[in-house]
């Protein structure tokens, strides 16, 4: 039973399109995150939600919009995709916002052509 699951695992799309990635956690955690991992493997936090409330919003273009319908789900919608958006996007969750133990999903590899 997967703890943090993301869909889709792979996304290939054209520049200018809009796409969404969905994430669900069954750990009962309060806090969820989106991280971006680029081609050099750098991991950078994008957003964090605690009990459906946005608590971290890094300097990410407005084209990225997270949504948390409930504390078990966190989705990421990306408008007007650009070449530089190609990366692996990881969803993660933690017990609470203070916890440093994050549980990551397997990632969604986005390729923008």
């Amino acid at each position: 039973d997967t703890a943090v699951s993301q869909t889709p695992k792979y996304l290939v799309t054209q520049m200018g399109n809009d796409k969404s990635i969905k994430c669900e956690q069954n750990l009962g955690h309060d806090t969820m995150y989106w991280y971006k991992q680029d081609s050099k493997k750098f991991l950078k936090i994008m957003f964090s939600y605690n009990n459906k409330e946005l608590i971290i919003n890094e300097t990410v273009p407005n084209r990225f919009s997270p949504k948390s319908p409930d504390k078990a789900h966190l989705n990421l919608h990306i408008n007007s995709l650009e070449l530089g958006d190609s990366a692996v996007y990881f969803c993660a969750s933690s017990q609470d916002a203070a916890s440093g133990e994050l549980f990551f999903g397997e990632g969604s590899r986005l390729t923008v052509l």
Binding site: V4, K40, K41, F42, L43, K44, I45, S48, I56, F90, A92, A97, G100, E101, L102, F103, F104, G105, E106, G107
Partner: protein
């Protein structure tokens, strides 16, 4: 000040050898220092973590050494095995986790 500097970028070790990865930080507000292990095609997973009031933590073959005055911490993998081949990330927490740049470890038989 929010950065965590990690070295080396890549490491090749013989089976049975010791793997050592180093990290350094500037922000004294960091209060938790975990190490994450990532296998290809998978998400990072917590390996071991330490708080700044402790100088060493050992779990099996994995040890974190922490030097608060030098603002440095390191991961030692004793008796390295081919199954340890992965990318390792140090991290530090203030109100969010900040990751180092990663070290790709390859352990050859």
């Amino acid at each position: 000040q929010q950065q965590v500097k990690q070295s080396p970028q890549s490491l090749i070790v013989q089976k049975g050898g010791i793997s050592i990865i180093n990290c350094a930080y500037e922000n004294t507000a960091f209060d938790y220092f975990p190490w994450y292990q990532q296998f290809p095609g998978k998400g990072p997973a917590l390996l071991i973590a330490i708080r700044p009031d402790v100088s060493e933590k050992k779990e099996g073959r994995f040890t974190i050494s922490f030097n608060k005055s030098a603002k440095q911490f390191s991961l030692h993998i004793m008796d390295s095995q081919p199954g340890d081949s992965a990318t390792y990330f140090c991290a530090a927490r203030v109100y969010k986790l900040i990751f180092g740049t990663g070290t790709r470890l390859q352990v050859f038989p």
